[in-house]
Symmetry: D2
Subunit: 408 residues, 4 copies
């Protein structure tokens, strides 16, 4: 187990790398992906050299074996730049895919594919979301995998498959048994790319850009796409359960990243208002309206951090199922802190705030999706409420989270 | 004066043109400006043929002589598409520039330049905003025009000069007398482009795109840029006053446009939720959370519309000075309705909402600036408060707006 | 028809009376109802003498025949004090009851009862709300009136019957035909008080006080309470329809009153911050946080006023049914402006704000109910949404309200 | 040190007492203070018998020596009822006064007065707030204590002196040296009541009630009120410093209490919506608008709890000065969660929510003051911002709170 002091040391080292990434952000803003990927490859080499690669991985996979709450501190630092997670080999959906193959893959998948992903020599994607069915209710999935005796034939359409562009592997979720209970209908398949019958349609233009490489979201069509038993991850019918299991860790990664973004936005806001004259004798930092924004942002950020740390600890100690409500709550709680902080930081920058001379406009548009991906905020609110309305209560002072007791 | 029925008829005709513009929006989203401008030129021809050109202009300028509140109805319809105002020859800053030259230009400017602008054969821009001085306090302006006996030599930097790219004329605000009372320091000059010493630096990348033509915001540098007395608009020292006078009409134009956008977003939200299944038997439209959003959006939109109509009528009847508070209030009131409505419409679209398959993501990112341009919302709130705190009150039942009376 | 100038004159006269009421507010705050009612009777006499009685009534009833939007201006002034409407004979539910009897009462009711109500010599109440059924869905009503051949026998419980304490008449809504279509199940009966089988249980304690006289909300029980055909108002089965018809005018009265309260709160906020030192050289009015609150309150108030005027005009010109959506929208829109403005005015008063040395704490607690009575805000949002989702759209520039047109 | 399990056991025992208090709340709502105090005395006896008295006190004072974060769990339970803290001998300002005398009192004060306060045999109050000077800036204090050689003569007015009614002792803050640096101007005096020249003017009516005994806020006037050196607490000029030192513990007590209130409100909301029919087949709990409120309340409460625990731990481990920003932030963060949760719980109760048949209306009106006492929210936001704008940053992963680092 790592001590708090070791985490601080690691955090400082991560921050140093992230600071050096900032000059490359303009390449992302200008969609110069070829040059960007080349620069990032250089930084990834440095990260490997400095022993900072795969900070989220377990020791068995050659990682640092950090507890989830410890990693969250580092993920915050990485999150300060949209390039951060990628250069540390910690980006979604890669880390989730690695865990999936590690825990549920076949021996062959573990032997041949896993090392490529873990070391960052190849990338993978995860094709679950569909355009015409609500991601919030995966039982509406329409992509079908029909048994043809020896294997399955997949037909259907996926979209918002992150990082499919240039990926060497794709994990596909498809309904194998439409007559089964809702959460046992689907299965997961891992196929190398390209694969017959799997068509890359486009990188979807999101907030004005199609993106590229790991910074993209693809539309994929499956037409008579044949997969064999060797492509299966887990067992038939395990699809939802395995996808669900990703969510806990994934949520912490995302939320810590959002906190990193919000913290950077707050830092930029403080810097801006200190330097911005609003009269011949005053700067914007003397406005108590602006100060109230800074105070509110700081409080929101602190609460968000504590909430994420708390949730990470429950996952670490008792598993994701025990933290189900917390995992749902940080989704919308932290996303709100993120949006509010970025929005106000942008506002204090005036016209510069909407320009690409600063990163704030990028955060503003790209992270709007935080309220949507992995299920819209509203779905998580409803799920928490459902759980509370069902619960019978009980006092648990060892857990600071929600405990409902007999009402009046 | 036009009857309400005539306005309805005009509005229906404007709507028909705007509906036909929608297919060209994808060219804007993909930044294919050459093809876009060509298509728009065709629509502009149709608009001229159908007698719908220059709906905001007075009869003397060959326009329809619509009252401002009447025009606001049409501007709503144009506003439904980001291409709307341009094809009708009603886009900012052109209409403001036309009014300026018409009322304050020299005879020669009126004779030679005005017709080009009025008919849309040439475009113009308005260079006021500077990067390092708060637009909210124009007395901080640093661009200087120093007299050299016969004329003036301008040095300084401007940015967010909308539509400078491809413009044939530029109106420049520069400080001619730094020692004068704050609001008499600056003057306006109208110069044809290109002009020696006036350097086009770049189209500023805004929310990910540099834009192009009328859909762009430029950075301009002035180095020893010489202008003569024939370039002056109004008198020396009139700069702020004339710029201020633009604001009333401009505000109505902007706010009506924002209402058009918000209305389209609400329409899209209604369409989306009606068609989106959230279970095997229910659509999103049956959610009373979504319905509460629709109810709130409708109320906000109705209030916004009434507020803009009310303000337009005061300007029309009593002039912009009489409507000073209202002009300030609609700025932030309507911008809030706009942001809230677009945000929720986007949210109900899920992943599709952040994609460019729909126009909502464009509105979300582009119209964030509504809270910033022409002075950030906060500045307008403060200015209204200042006016209220100063006023002595009085009851005026003929005016539904704010009236402060003797407090307890 | 009254000219705007005449409305202004009336408004000034109403204001003068209301100003003289303010000293009596402390009697209300201290629940000294006997003394309060005596003082108010004196003011009512003055109001009658000055010809300001019954400003909301039609000429046939001896009133001024003001259009509803004209009256709304006066109701704002009355609304500045919680005592205002009562001294002008314009309080709820009296004015609604008077209209009801006037339009639907029997000749005998009109001859014997109406004059007492119109002149304020007797008071009446309206018993509809029930504790255990959602007021938002009147089809759940449980109070039954069973026919016994000659008349009906009423059994059931009502609560929040405003002003039942000391009332001479009670209008009761009871289900006469539970098997009829939902909106034809109930009927209205007008009975003099006391009446056998009608038990006055208590004045309900609301926000800490049971109130008294017209300033109270009672719980009434009906046990074998017999009413004859002569007590019926309207026809059997007309109950919901007639209750619904009250809503339009009643909503305007309430909303105008709320605006009056909010305006007074804003006036008090301006007065307070101007006089409150926060350092040796500054007052609270120099804080731009406080100023942003004043700006937002002024904008909200102006929008609320315009919205109410607009709705009143539609009711006046086209009837309540045509204004259905507007009547629903002003309910929650104006209630939000009210709550926000009172809350911030209170906050700027510090500890004095929660004390009863100022009226703000009274407004804060008493007007919380604005979000609840006549149906909670949420129900109105849903009803507007339902109507919008159903509508087919169409452009109507003569009406500034919501118009939905063919979405993309 | 107490184990988490012991805290849970204590918490369960505290809850049991609080549950038995609920029937007496109606006496508070009806202002029957004589009967209320008698009932509460009985419960206090039980609390003493069960060894639950003075849970917030150190072992030296006969308390349990709980760490502050441990006590916060118990304070939540006490907070569920407005009567809770009093029956456990943990109410403000008593516990703060006890700490003050314990740490800074003279030997005689400690010997003669402290035991009376600690055991609850006598009550005390703390007279700091003044009507005409902003509590947020104590350097504006006007109450003066002028030296007369042997002692001091106090002149001035205090208000909102909580629990002065019936108190046996009063701690007074007065300016002893107006020429000193701002924070060294005032001193504290402890006098027994009654005392010559100290006039009890009134219990201030707050939100409709003057209250009584420990549930009251008094106005006190000092006219030539003489105090001797034996009345001093601490040293001359220590007044602000000692008052400031109370704030850390006091804030945790208040915030934990607010969380208890909010939790009870959420419990009541869940109970209400489960039982409330909105149609013949549905209850309010099936509305996803209501569910989104429950989800948001649960998230807010969890974040609030974590924030308070976090702050209590810093105070416990590093002292109040180290937690200065956190102490400021929980003030407004938790107060917002409180207000939002109580408001929505009330709203789901409909008319019953504003009635005194439920405790929600009491919480709604009484706890409005949470945004005001101990300095209005806004002042705390500004103070946090000031601190952040001044700080130079640095990474501290062992502390989840705000850490500012070098911005871009």
């Amino acid at each position: 187990m790592m001590s708090p002091e070791e985490i601080v040391t690691l955090r400082t080292r991560v921050r140093a790398v992230v600071e050096d990434l900032l000059p490359f952000e303009s390449l992302l803003l200008q969609c110069q992906f070829a040059e960007l990927m080349q620069k990032l490859e250089g930084v990834r080499e440095r990260v490997r050299r400095e022993g900072l690669w795969g900070l989220s991985l377990s020791r068995e996979l050659g990682g640092h074996g950090l507890p989830l709450d410890g990693f969250a501190h580092l993920a915050e630092e990485m999150g300060r730049s949209p390039l951060g997670h990628y250069v540390f080999g910690c980006q979604a959906p890669e880390v989730g895919n690695i865990e999936l193959v590690h825990h549920h893959g076949t021996s062959e998948q573990k032997q041949n594919i896993l090392p490529l992903l873990v070391t960052g020599r190849a990338r993978s994607c995860f094709a679950m979301t569909e355009r015409n069915t609500s991601g919030a209710n995966p039982t509406l999935l329409t992509t079908r995998a029909r048994s043809d005796g020896a294997g399955w034939v997949i037909d259907g359409e996926k979209w918002f498959t992150t990082a499919a562009d240039g990926a060497a592997f794709c994990i596909i979720m498809a309904v194998t048994d439409p007559g089964a209970p809702p959460h046992q209908r689907a299965s997961l398949f891992l196929v190398p790319l390209p694969h017959p019958g799997l068509h890359f349609i486009r990188n979807i233009s999101v907030m004005g850009h199609v993106g590229g490489g790991p910074f993209s979201h693809a539309e994929l069509h499956f037409e008579g796409c044949r997969v064999g038993p060797e492509h299966l991850i887990g067992k038939i019918g395990d699809g939802f359960r395995l996808a669900q299991a990703r969510l806990g860790h994934g949520r912490i990664h995302h939320c810590a990243r959002w906190i990193g973004i919000a913290q950077r936005a707050l830092d930029m806001m403080c810097e801006r208002v200190t330097g911005r004259a609003i009269s011949e004798v005053k700067t914007l930092s003397e406005s108590d309206l602006v100060r109230s924004w800074i105070g509110e942002a700081a409080a929101g950020l602190t609460a968000a951090r504590l909430f994420v740390q708390h949730t990470a600890k429950i996952i670490e100690e008792k598993g994701g199922q025990a933290a189900r409500n917390e995992i749902a709550m940080i989704k919308f709680f932290v996303a709100d802190v993120l949006s509010m902080t970025v929005d106000r930081a942008l506002q204090t920058h005036g016209a510069a705030g909407v320009s690409d001379d600063f990163i704030l406009a990028y955060f503003y548009r790209e992270e709007r999706a935080a309220h949507i991906y992995d299920g819209p905020d509203e779905v998580h609110k409803l799920s928490v409420a459902k759980s509370i309305l069902k619960s019978k209560g009980g006092i648990d002072a060892t857990r600071s989270g929600y405990d409902r007791s007999s009402p009046r």
